[in-house]
């Protein structure tokens, strides 16, 4: 795994410190936006594990994000909040199971096929969500209560409070970064990176690559489910667009814009893209036009993303 250079590491550390201290001096209004960005960063890092490290270009990663969100909706009763420590593991397990099932099917294909098939499976979930009344149909469903983090009577934090939610999102982003850092450094991680480079050779050396791809797909799926769970808690709503191709394209764009194959890339990409979207959409009703043109320009001019730009600026 390419390790960022010293100066970039310092820059990242400074960024993390800023986020840590932000609530002390920043406007409360931005807490929600930043929490949203950090959850998108978790989602994008999980996709980067597939795209940037294992070389699996998935256009259907929203499937697991959506499953995480819908799981929370189903587990939250109309009477009161669900318990975080009970419902989160269930939501993660649901996303993981979905990843096993979809992975078994899609990982048989590769290249262009993989891209189309992953998109098609998310689309299947999209129509499933639209057709089912118990999932709220095409309008989606509200989640009236954010999950409660009570542990035997002790409540370490309260997700209802924007400040607490912000800390949790920051912890999730940092935690996902560290988890993936450790995983990518492990024996498993070395195999995953080698799959992108030369899968056939790996098999001829004696490694059954399919099951490594599947496990990788499931880890990425569970992390996407984690992001979906908290995103739906934040918005208080889930709808079929959680599975939509627009979100799938957006999160893929975050990975590329930030710099795929690095862990900090998706984080930088999430901040850059979401902040850009936010300012464009304030400026004009037709913000998707400049957004589309920006994406085209960014892909043509910055194939290695912001992370690549930083490394170049240093050199």
């Amino acid at each position: 795994m390419p390790v960022p250079s010293r100066s970039v590491r310092l820059l990242l550390l400074a960024g993390f410190a800023t986020l840590l201290l932000f609530p002390l001096f920043g406007e409360r209004f931005y807490l929600q936006l930043l929490a949203h960005i950090m959850l998108m960063a978790v989602f994008a890092m999980s996709l980067d594990l597939l795209v940037g490290f294992a070389g699996l270009v998935s256009l259907g990663h929203t499937a697991f994000f959506g499953v995480g969100g819908y799981a929370l909706m189903l587990l939250t009763s109309s009477a009161g909040p669900a318990n975080l420590w009970l419902t989160l593991p269930v939501a993660l397990a649901a996303a993981a199971v979905a990843a096993v099932i979809i992975g078994l099917l899609v990982l048989r294909s590769s290249g262009v096929y993989f891209i189309m098939v992953t998109l098609a499976f998310t689309q299947m979930l999209y129509y499933f969500a639209i057709g089912q009344k118990w999932l709220g149909g095409s309008d989606g469903a509200y989640i009236n209560f954010k999950p409660r983090a009570a542990l035997f009577g002790f409540v370490p934090f309260d997700l209802q409070k924007p400040l607490h939610f912000y800390w949790v999102a920051l912890a999730l982003m940092a935690g996902t970064y560290l988890l993936l850092f450790v995983i990518l450094r492990s024996l498993f991680g070395r195999v995953v990176c080698a799959i992108r480079s030369n899968e056939g050779r790996l098999a001829s050396l004696g490694i059954p690559t399919f099951r490594y791809k599947l496990v990788c797909f499931v880890i990425a799926g569970a992390l996407a489910g984690l992001a979906g769970y908290f995103a739906s808690a934040q918005y208080g709503v889930v709808n079929p667009d959680f599975f939509g191709w627009r979100l799938a394209g957006e999160v893929l764009m975050i990975v590329i814009l930030g710099g795929m194959g690095t862990l900090h890339g998706p984080i930088l990409g999430a901040f850059a893209l979401v902040l850009l979207e936010d300012s464009l959409s304030v400026a004009s009703k037709h913000w998707l036009l400049p957004m589309g043109l920006f994406i085209i320009a960014a892909v043509l001019l910055l194939p290695k993303g912001i992370a690549g730009l930083l490394e170049r600026a240093r050199a």
């Binding site: 294909s109 098939v117 299947m124 129509y127 590329i256 589309g292 085209i296």
Partner: protein, 289 residues
């Protein structure tokens, strides 16, 4: 008796939908197979066609006249877009996906600027605006039959071009093996241009003739794009025959899905796709991996 006629109507609807889908998917599968380009914006060409039909019918007062004007316009749009796509040929699939994703957003928003976000209707040409009675209370609109006939005629023409002409031979060779085209001493750039522009025109034409029955609405290109993907996956990349069979299959599955299991409408085609993938990972007419 009514049950049988009802069934027949669904079959006709399914076939008509499938044939439209074929016009869109045939270009998509060739662009994949020959140029190796994943084009998410292919569905937008269908949308462009529908909006061209809408705008020109407003201006000229008649769908026939607007078809005559719109096809050359689609051709010109195709030629211009081909210039934009040229840098994509040698790019990684990932970048093709994102570039064409950006293109969808830009095209969709341009449409919104020009036409707004309302649903528009295009009148059925008066000459075809009647129905054939099937029983006492069931009848079938002639315009839909005409759509099927037009698509079949185009599919037949496509078949003739691909199986009988020199350029068709190059296309077939290219779909089977891209390097082969070079070996045959054919100008690869020319083959690409023809395939791409033909794909744009076919998709746009499908959008034009579908406009009177399907209406013209925002996001119409994306729904058909993803179904076209499914057609390509089921039929096998680069196979026109596969696209034809798969498109009919999808058209029928989707139509009957809506009737038989409305709660799961829209899902049927994906279940079908999953089943085909389990059975034949490279599609019905795809080359094995």
């Amino acid at each position: 008796m009514d049950a049988i006629v009802f069934f027949l109507i669904q079959v006709l609807n399914g076939v008509q939908y499938g044939l439209l889908l074929f016009l869109v998917a045939s270009g998509l599968t060739l662009v994949f197979g020959i140029m190796g380009v994943v084009n998410l914006a292919h569905g937008s060409f269908y949308m462009v066609g529908a909006y061209l039909a809408y705008a020109l019918t407003q201006a000229l007062g008649n769908l026939w006249l607007s078809l005559v004007a719109a096809v050359p316009l689609a051709l010109i749009i195709g030629l211009l877009l081909e210039l934009l796509f040229r840098p994509l040929y040698r790019r990684d699939h990932l970048y093709q996906v994102l570039l064409t994703y950006g293109l969808i957003l830009a095209l969709e928003e341009t449409r919104s600027l020009l036409f707004g976000d309302d649903v528009h209707g295009v009148p059925i040409p008066p000459a075809l605006d009647f129905s054939v009675p099937l029983t006492a209370d069931l009848s079938y609109p002639v315009y839909r039959l005409w759509i099927s006939a037009a698509c079949l005629a185009l599919a037949g023409a496509l078949y003739l071009v691909i199986s009988k002409t020199r350029i068709g031979m190059a296309i077939r060779a290219g779909a089977a093996n891209r390097e082969m085209v070079q070996l045959l001493g054919i100008d690869v750039g020319m083959v690409f241009r023809i395939v791409f522009v033909a794909g744009v025109v076919l998709a746009a034409f499908a959008g034009m003739i579908a406009a009177p029955v399907a209406t013209v609405y925002p996001g119409m290109g994306n729904a058909i794009l993803i179904l076209s993907f499914v057609v390509v996956v089921i039929g096998g990349i680069g196979s026109i025959k596969g696209a034809f069979v798969a498109a009919l299959l999808i058209g029928l599955a989707d139509t009957f899905g809506q009737v038989v299991a409305p709660d799961f409408a829209g899902m049927t085609v994906y279940v079908l796709m999953a089943a085909v993938l389990l059975w034949r990972p490279a599609g019905l007419f795809g080359r094995g991996t």
